[in-house]
């Protein structure tokens, strides 16, 4: 029991981050993580030794796919978190917040399978082999999805930059 707690608990923040990045909604993401943990507790005896992290991400990812299929409501626009309006009035903080929000909006335009690979590899620091295991696809497919995700995201970013200029340089001019 203690072993399970020791191994799983430190990974919960990362699971929440991944779920939130996929679903873009705090409460449904946390629901998903809760489901994932319930299952993990139930299946703990059957897991393979070692790779607890990719095991957990795999459970979470499969639950997320079920969720997608149920709703099939991609592209919901989540408004900027309103809680930061007063306390973080500082301009620089606001600006990076906008930039982050913009980045996540662009991430949301990627196809689900590409976004999943990019998040697992670039944000969650899973190795390519681990990501392949989580998504149940060959490593070669991980690489091609990663490549497509990055090219596509870059086009999104460059497109905006070309049109409106980058936020940061504009400020430094002022």
């Amino acid at each position: 029991m203690d072993q399970m707690l020791l191994e799983i608990e430190p990974l919960i923040p990362a699971l929440r981050r991944y779920a939130r990045a996929l679903l873009r909604d705090r409460s449904s993401a946390d629901d998903l993580v809760q489901d994932c943990l319930e299952r993990a507790i139930g299946r703990w005896p059957q897991r393979r030794d070692g790779a607890v992290r990719s095991w957990l991400f795999a459970i979470l990812h499969n639950l997320a796919i079920d969720r997608y299929r149920q709703k099939a409501t991609r592209g919901i626009h989540v408004s900027i978190d309103t809680s930061n309006e007063n306390e973080f009035g500082e301009a620089a903080a606001q600006e990076s917040r906008l930039m982050y929000h913009d980045a996540l909006n662009k991430l949301a335009t990627l196809p689900d399978d590409q976004r999943a690979v990019l998040l697992l590899v670039a944000v969650e620091d899973l190795s390519y082999a681990e990501a392949a295991k989580v998504l149940d696809i060959p490593v070669g497919t991980v690489m091609s999805r990663l490549s497509r995700a990055r090219e596509r995201l870059q086009r999104e970013i460059d497109g905006t930059t070309a049109m409106s200029g980058n936020v940061l340089p504009l400020r430094s001019v002022k």
Binding site: M1, L5, R17, P45, Q46, Y100, A122, L146
Partner: protein, 257 residues
């Protein structure tokens, strides 16, 4: 400079800090010589940093109460059921090697007779019933093949119970491993997503015939019995009252082989 050409995959591995130091230096040298590629790679690295920074605050948030793992484990302990017992027993076995748990685990982990059979059915239920992708290996449409397969492996003629009068459709089945050898597992569902598992296998010599006993605890009910050397257990997440007539039906059908 290396003779080995740089691959696209390696450019990504460079961005993700996944290259060995030596190769990393070679890629760096390559990028120095190819500013256009270097620009692309810098873009990828920028994305990576941007996404990490944008998502980092989520991982720093205090965990909501609903995700308190210690409480979740505790709550599960207070909701005992045959499934949980099976899980707990297996868990004790898993960690048994690491100390004094071993003595405690060995007493509960491998019960004999009907209790073992019910536990194995509970394992199969817990593993396969929630599976949305492939709960069964052979579907109901292949039930003739399924019957033959299970019968061959158990060296006993096995008949797949028909539970349609009770409102449960056969989904299919598979061969499963138990600590007492192979067993046949059949799964059924109703119109409301409820699933039942029937597990059957040959019994030890001393348990050839045993009356039907209830194995219910919590929200999961189970019945087990043995007739003429074959043990059968029915498990489902429903009330024992609802399950008992179905168990009787399964038993009756098996006797008519």
């Amino acid at each position: 400079m290396s003779q080995r050409p740089i691959t696209e995959d390696e450019l990504h591995a460079f961005v993700d800090h996944a290259l060995a130091a030596e190769r990393r230096a070679e890629v760096e040298a390559y990028l120095d010589a190819h500013p256009d590629v270097a620009k692309r790679v810098a873009g990828f690295a920028g994305q990576r940093e941007l996404l990490r920074a944008a998502l980092a605050p989520i991982a720093d948030e205090p965990l909501p109460a609903a995700l308190n793992l210690a409480h979740m484990i505790e709550a599960r302990k207070h909701r005992p059921s045959p499934l949980r017992w099976a899980m707990a027993a297996a868990l004790l076995l898993c960690i048994g090697a690491s100390g004094g748990w071993l003595a405690r685990g060995s007493q509960q982990a491998v019960p004999g007779g009907l209790a073992a059979l019910a536990q194995e059915a509970a394992y199969s239920y817990d593993v396969y019933a929630p599976d949305h992708v492939r709960p069964v290996e052979l579907r109901a449409s292949d039930s003739a093949q399924l019957t033959q397969w299970i019968s061959n492996r158990l060296h006993q003629p096995v008949k797949v119970p028909d539970l349609s009068p009770s409102g449960y459709r056969l989904m299919g089945g598979r061969l499963v491993a138990t600590s007492h050898g192979p067993a046949g597992m059949f799964m059924y569902d109703d119109d409301h997503g409820g699933r039942l598992v029937v597990l059957t296998r040959p019994m030890d010599k001393r348990d050839q015939d045993a009356p039907m006993t209830a194995q219910s605890k919590g929200d999961v009910a189970g019945f087990a019995w043995a007739d003429g050397g074959m043990g059968t257990s029915l498990v489902g997440q429903t009330s024992p009252e609802a399950l008992r007539p179905i168990a009787n039906e399964v038993r009756k059908q098996a006797r008519t082989i």
